[in-house]
Amino acid sequence: MKELIKGNEALAEAAIIAGCRHYFGYPITPQNEITAYMAKRMPEVGGVFVQAESEVASINMVFGAAAAGVRVMTTTSSPGFSLMQEGVSYLAAAHLPCVLANIMRGGPGLGNIAGSQGDYFQAVKGGGHGDYRLIVLTPAYVQEMIDFTILAFDLADKYLIPVLILTDGIVGQMVEPAEFPKDYKPNFYDKSWALTGAKGRPKNVVRTLWLDDYGVENNNIKLQQKYARIKAEFVMYEEFMTEDAEVILVAYGTPARICKAITKKLRNEGYKVGTFRLQSAFPFPEYRLMELALEKHVKGFLVVEMSAGQMVEDVRLSVRDYKPVNFYGRMGGVLPEERKIIEYTLDMLKGKVEVN
């Protein structure tokens, strides 16, 4: 049965359903509900909640717990995720599974506490040092906060990789009907690599350092092979009325909901518009976007973000020069305006190559 639930709390309960029994967090708005929820809920389910002294402590507690072989999560918002980046790089390098969430707010700097999408580059291109990737899931609905969080734990264990839930503060703060799965059972994954005590077996060592000439390169090759495998096996997106669309709006998170509403509105007026909504930002749905770009009915794409234009770069890389890709965004925690999106869409429908 569906219930009214807040995005942040949905994410927290979903983590518990997925078998997460260790959560470390530090206060930061707009994700405080997750920390408060875990403080109350973890003892009830036999789990451990610790309010760490900083995000640096949170992410390194995650490192320790992940190395010990359990399902573990930390959550934060933009400035806090910046502070975690060193730990994220180490987690990726050490092939450790964990789930992270960045409920994005306006930046850069302290910015504000309004929802934003300015951390796409940090999330998708690697906010820390070295050649690493995260799986990045981008929920836009409270229901997806539940579904993607559960999926995130499975993906993390399957590929031995940190999985990031990347969404904006609006989705985190939003209350809408959603449903928790009733009979989800966490899958079993072999964790014989974990630090569980070496009695009767050779010891396991979790590390990101190799002192011989090719150790680090070999680890990099392993990482790249893993990313190639993930790209071959996994990607998520939603297409809304794209089948005959002449202009396709591309977005994720809250702007994607705006784009879908506009799509419906313009369809009612007879315009052939569609929305392509990213559900995963890494892997990026580059193949499908190229397919759409090659469709005769598609005149071009309008990318809408709550940023200065970050995800748009990946859309341009995907469709290359086959079709025009335009961009409209607002920064610093401001929502893109419906009338502007409509204006640019109509311009593109009329055949204008460059709008905005």
């Binding site: 530090y26 206060p27 930061i28 708005t29 405080n32 920390t35 408060a36 403080a39 109350k40 003892p43 909640f49 309010q51 002294e53 900083s54 995000e55 640096v56 400035p79 302290l110």
Partner: protein, 289 residues
């Protein structure tokens, strides 16, 4: 107390704090202290971290820098090293200074750089609406300790003394005149000064209220405490819960401050260089012609 004119440190901006917040007391006490010292706003830099109390630089007329969460002290030290003639005051809350930023506190104390650090200690995270802080009492119920906090708080006074701070005091926002006198002495002190200001959070901390403190605080100077005796200081610093001392715990006048030791900063930093002459100016400008 002789009345002092604090107008020159006031700005036409209402603080964002809740009515009754202890931070108003600190703001008043600090403005009074700066007036008593007869400083000009142009000689003062106030550096803060992030949190309710860290909004302080916006509400006082002086140079200000609203820095990163937990990083008020490194930022303030950066300012002091560039221009040691400035009076540099770092400010923030307990979450900022004793939580995320506590590593910097230890090293600023050890370095004994000539900065006054004021921590508005309300034993809770206020800006994020009420989570446990590093100074929350055991048993405190907060959003992140719904069944009562079972972590033990750190003792900022003991920490500062043991880390090498040379002026360590506690003030109470309910005693602004007493506070102003201590801030004056802290700023006059040559070396790192920590002031732990009891600044009750009237919105989220329902235990450590003004009334709770009023029943417990006493002044160290009233009992003949000798702040030059580290053993007495340490002993008094352990008091909490039944009786809470305010006043100066510890002063070490013998340890030189960092800015007296560093060969460049000692001479006044880069701003101590004599002004360039007209000929030198011409010579420099000629290089661009």
């Amino acid at each position: 107390m002789a009345t002092v004119d604090i107008k020159k440190f006031q700005v036409n901006l209402n603080p964002t704090w809740c009515p009754g917040c202890g931070d108003y007391g600190l703001l008043r006490g600090l403005q009074t202290a700066l007036a008593k010292l007869d400083l000009d706003p142009s000689e003062i830099v106030i550096v803060s971290g992030i949190g309710c109390s860290s909004n302080l630089p916006h509400f006082i007329k002086a140079y200000g820098y609203h820095s990163l969460h937990g990083r008020a002290l490194p930022t303030a030290q950066g300012v002091k090293m560039v221009n040691p003639r400035l009076t540099v005051i770092a400010a923030g809350g307990d979450g900022d200074g004793y939580g995320i930023g506590v590593g910097h506190l230890v090293h600023a104390c050890r370095r004994n750089i000539d900065i006054t650090y004021i921590v508005m200690d309300n034993q809770i995270y206020g800006l994020t609406t009420g989570q446990t802080s590093p100074t929350s009492d055991v048993g405190s119920k907060t959003k992140t300790s719904p069944d009562g906090n079972y972590e033990y708080p750190l003792n900022p006074i003991l920490l500062a003394i043991s880390s090498g701070a040379t002026f360590v005091a506690r003030t109470f926002s309910g005693e602004p005149e007493h506070m102003a006198d201590i801030i004056v002495k802290a700023i006059q002190h040559k070396g790192f000064a920590l002031i732990d200001d009891i600044s009750p959070c009237v919105t989220y901390n329902k235990k450590n209220t003004y009334q709770w403190f009023k029943e417990r605080v006493y002044k160290l100077e009233d009992i003949g405490h000798d702040p030059y005796d580290i053993n007495q200081a340490i002993q008094r610093a352990t008091e909490w819960e039944d009786k809470i001392p305010i006043g100066i715990f510890y002063i070490n006048p013998d340890k030189p401050s960092y800015d007296q030791l560093d060969p460049v900063i000692r001479e006044g930093g880069m701003f101590a260089k004599p002004e360039i002459t007209e000929d030198e100016k011409k010579e420099i400008l000629n290089q661009f012609l």
